[in-house]
């Protein structure tokens, strides 16, 4: 279960993770830079398990993986958006941060409590008492997510 942080359309990677912080490699430090320039309070107030809900084209912009990593490190458990920019989508899966495409994100409000069940393919909005079906992932993506990301997947000796 996680509380919703609501964002709009076209949230870009420069906003999620500023360019000047790209040389940072320590996870805790990276977490602090999540939305650092634009929503300085975000990384302080976010709680483990919280969920980002956004409009279309979330994560557009650069290929910087730090945009997905900082969200994972700061405690975000899942990002739900109408659509994602493709590199962000791949990065999130590869680092083990679940991303879900859902058309109805407008119905979800800031602060709502959500429950995500990837195995059942169901998203519950506990606050509003609503349920949504999630489209199942293709086989390879499911296997990578199940392994907890691409590195673990490859560590297990598997190949793409």
């Amino acid at each position: 279960m996680g509380k919703v942080w609501k964002f709009g359309d076209d949230v870009n990677t420069d906003v999620i993770y500023p360019g000047y912080a790209l040389k940072v490699t320590n996870p805790d430090e990276m977490a602090k830079y999540a939305f650092a320039e634009v929503y300085p309070e975000f990384s302080k107030e976010v709680k483990e398990g919280d969920i980002i809900v956004a409009g279309k084209n979330f994560g557009c912009g650069s290929s910087r993986e730090q945009a997905a990593l900082c969200l994972k490190y700061v405690g975000i458990s899942c990002v739900i958006a109408k659509s994602f920019a493709r590199i962000f989508y791949r990065n999130a899966i590869n680092i083990g941060l679940p991303v879900i495409e859902l058309k109805e994100t407008d119905e979800i409000n800031e602060g709502d409590e959500l429950e995500v069940d990837l195995n059942e393919g169901i998203l519950r909005n506990v606050t509003q008492g609503k349920e949504y079906k999630i489209k199942p992932y293709p086989e390879i993506i499911r296997r990578i997510i199940d392994a907890g990301g691409l590195i673990n997947y490859l560590k297990e000796g598997k190949n793409v």
């Binding site: 420069d14 320039e37 634009v38 084209n57 912009g61 993986e65 920019a85 590869n94 590195i151 490859l154």
Partner: protein, 417 residues
């Protein structure tokens, strides 16, 4: 019966493919820049001793050259050591240029190949007919380990541009015009094919502008069909084996768009999104503090020539900072031999070494709060070039040069009559 993307992926995966399907492809070229430091970290974690092929990995330093901080210096050192350890054959240190330009100059951007890079504007190599796209560092570590990657076969849209460009209108204006229509997610997950007379008549450098900026409408790959010009380039660069793969006549496109080049006028992408495109007349007169000509979008010789045409014998407005960053060492040298650098210096411009420079707001010309820049780069997101309270307008090199002279956004056409 495939589009260009389908045909290349069919070749790379050894089977026939259709959109939406997941395929596994072998990688021909795997490019990274300073973010190779992060790739190395993940590669170590996977625990393989050797990279899959030390002749197919290319590493190019460009984002912060020369190193601007201890952290960057340490990262670069780590990469240099890794290059030695693994015997990575194609390594370009701080004296080469911006990765996408260097890939082209050194003959890595070739028709028919699968090229991945840990940089979103890797789409640039699509100008040569390569299936070229950006990936993250973790995924690159996977490529270094296995030489393979999965792709969802993209749907393709076709963009036809016909007609002659007016004076003062360039590839940059064409693509900004297109992005203004299709919007920032108009080609999300999709392949783009550019076709039409206007594109055929464009130089290689101009075609690279189209493929480069297509990323800003979400494109996975953005092709210009390889032709005689491509062939000439490849031969001059002694590019390794390549194959001219083209789409089939019966290829299916999810959408087709037609643009008339003769109707396109100088364009500007306004803060803070690339699809916030206006005609230059609508923003003319907006005061600026900085003007930047450079980047993987518009830092090539033809760009510097256009800027020099306008700056020759004129002065940059007092109080305005004009920064010029040639896209590569080769461009730098050619611009010097042609006397372009003299023109910029006489005008009061600051020439920086080849590299990304101020484009990503990491060094060399960061904007302060409240400041306004006009730039030939490809992104104007909030905080992209410095303070989150600064403003970036994107335009052609000619428009940036004209603006530097006037100290406000200016129409380049009046300087070109």
């Amino acid at each position: 019966m495939g589009t260009l993307a389908e045909n290349i992926l069919a070749e790379a995966s050894g089977k026939s493919v259709s959109p939406g399907e997941i395929v596994y492809a072998g990688v021909d070229t795997a490019m990274s820049h300073e973010n190779a430091a992060l790739v190395i970290r993940w590669f170590r974690e996977i625990g393989r001793e050797r990279v899959w092929d030390n002749e197919k990995i290319v590493i190019i330093f460009d984002h912060r050259v020369p190193a601007e901080s201890i952290k960057t210096a340490e990262g670069q050192k780590k990469i240099r050591n890794f290059v030695k350890e693994q015997g990575i054959k194609h390594f370009y240190d701080i004296n080469t240029g911006i990765c996408h330009q260097v890939l082209a100059e050194k003959g890595f951007s070739r028709p028919g190949i699968v090229l991945v890079g840990t940089d979103s504007h890797t789409t640039t190599a699509g100008a040569f007919g390569a299936f070229a796209t950006g990936i993250g560092a973790t995924e690159m570590a996977g490529v270094w380990a296995t030489g393979r990657i999965w792709f969802k076969v993209p749907e393709t849209i076709k963009i036809n541009v016909e007609g002659e460009l007016s004076k003062g209108v360039y590839a940059k204006d064409v693509i900004l015009h297109i992005i203004g229509h299709l919007r920032a997610d108009g080609a999300n997950y999709m392949a783009v094919e550019f076709d039409g007379d206007t594109i055929k008549n464009m130089s290689i450098a101009s075609r690279m502008v189209l493929s480069n900026l297509s990323m800003e409408m979400g494109a996975k790959v953005a092709f210009v069909y390889p032709d005689e010009k491509t062939k000439k380039w490849l031969e001059e660069r002694k590019a390794k084996p390549y194959r001219f793969i083209l789409p089939d006549k019966e290829a299916r496109y999810v959408d087709e768009y037609n643009f008339d080049a003769s109707e396109i006028t100088p364009k500007v992408a306004c803060p803070h999104t690339v699809d916030n495109v206006k005609s230059i007349e609508e923003v003319e007169g907006t005061e600026i503090n900085q003007a930047f000509i450079g980047s993987c979008t518009n830092g090539r010789l033809e760009d510097l020539r256009e800027a020099a045409k306008i700056l020759k014998g004129r002065k940059v407005k007092e109080g305005v900072r004009l920064i010029i960053g040639p896209a590569s060492w080769e461009v730098y040298r050619d611009a010097m031999r042609e006397g372009l650098l003299d023109i910029f210096i006489e005008a009061g411009g600051v020439i920086i070494n080849p590299g990304c420079g101020p484009c990503l707001g990491a060094h060399q010309g960061i904007l302060a709060s409240g400041e306004v820049a006009i730039s030939t780069t490809n992104r104007n997101f909030q905080g992209r070039m410095g303070s989150p309270e600064s403003f970036v307008y994107l335009a052609s090199p000619a428009a940036v040069a004209a603006s530097a002279i006037e100290g406000k956004i200016a129409d380049p056409r009046k300087y070109l009559r």
